[in-house]
Subunit: 179 residues, 2 copies
């Protein structure tokens, strides 16, 4: 199975392509960051991002697109751009008829480190080890995108749907609490 | 000048196309709502929405796309979908090289009713009057999209850039306050 993980963002949007399946070795196929200039009009930044994601999907033909789930509670200043970037990733996947799965940051951390509270260096270290890389992927957004792809390969579809339902309920609950 | 106003949403996304300029009569060209099924996968809903907006832009060739500015403070439960829908509208505009302007709900209300705190029936009534329609546009999302287009025609570009700067500062301030 080939998965592209996308850590959404407007200034830096990480992507990582990983081949593998449960119980087998993982192989990194590609990794990088799409960047758009902060002083550019948001609509043009979204268009640049679309072109980047489109190119990666056409090049690598992934079976699944794994996107980090964005929560509206986190970082009010940048959440709009992050939400829009995640929407672009989901849109491009749907346009190519590729299924999309969302994972929360703590699900991703738990998958690769065993702890949902792991810090970024720990995630980067485990990603480097699991993919048998000679050096750590940089920047952190790239490592996070690879971790997302690994999480997708290991958790698979059924588990993910359950988690989606739970996350949705949590969002509903936090939405109620915020009012 | 021809403007398409887009009131972003995933379940109902209003659009309204208006011709006019400052000091001249306004003409409604088109109005409606793009709908996507709530039980459909979000990525497919975004793709459906993209196709709807794309079709309207190709059909009407607007000079400007006016989109309602989404604030992360409002309605935590639906803000992600709304932000993603607005991102799709901005993306499609950029792809066709059409400038995008954002307006806050209170800017739109103030433009068409004289009060930033006007309620929905008041906005609908003024939109109906200003466009000399024989009956009120329905649903409310469609009337809001027409109000957005009128706001864009009346406020124009320079004023809008000033408001953008102010809104951005407010967002920054509220972001700091929320931490």
């Amino acid at each position: 199975m080939r998965v592209i993980g996308i850590d959404p963002g407007l200034t830096r949007c990480g992507f990582g392509v990983v081949d593998g399946s449960v119980g087998r070795a993982l192989t990194m196929v590609d990794v990088g960051v799409y960047r758009t200039p902060p002083d550019m009009d948001t609509s043009r930044r979204l268009h640049l991002l679309e072109q980047g994601i489109e190119a990666s999907i056409l090049k690598h033909q992934p079976d699944i697109v794994a996107v980090e789930r964005v929560f509206s509670q986190h970082n009010v200043r940048t959440v709009m751009g992050t939400a829009q970037a995640s929407g672009i990733a989901m849109l491009v996947a749907a346009r190519h008829d590729i299924p999309v799965q969302l994972h929360t940051p703590s699900e991703v951390k738990a998958s690769v480190t065993g702890s949902g509270r792991a810090d970024k260096p720990q995630v980067t270290q485990m990603v480097t080890r699991l993919l048998r890389l000679t050096e750590a992927p940089k920047p952190a957004d790239a490592a996070d995108a690879l971790a997302l792809a690994i999480c997708q390969i290991w958790r698979g579809g059924a588990q993910n749907r359950l988690q989606d339902a739970i996350a949705q309920n949590k969002l509903l609950a936090s939405g109620k609490a915020a009012r």
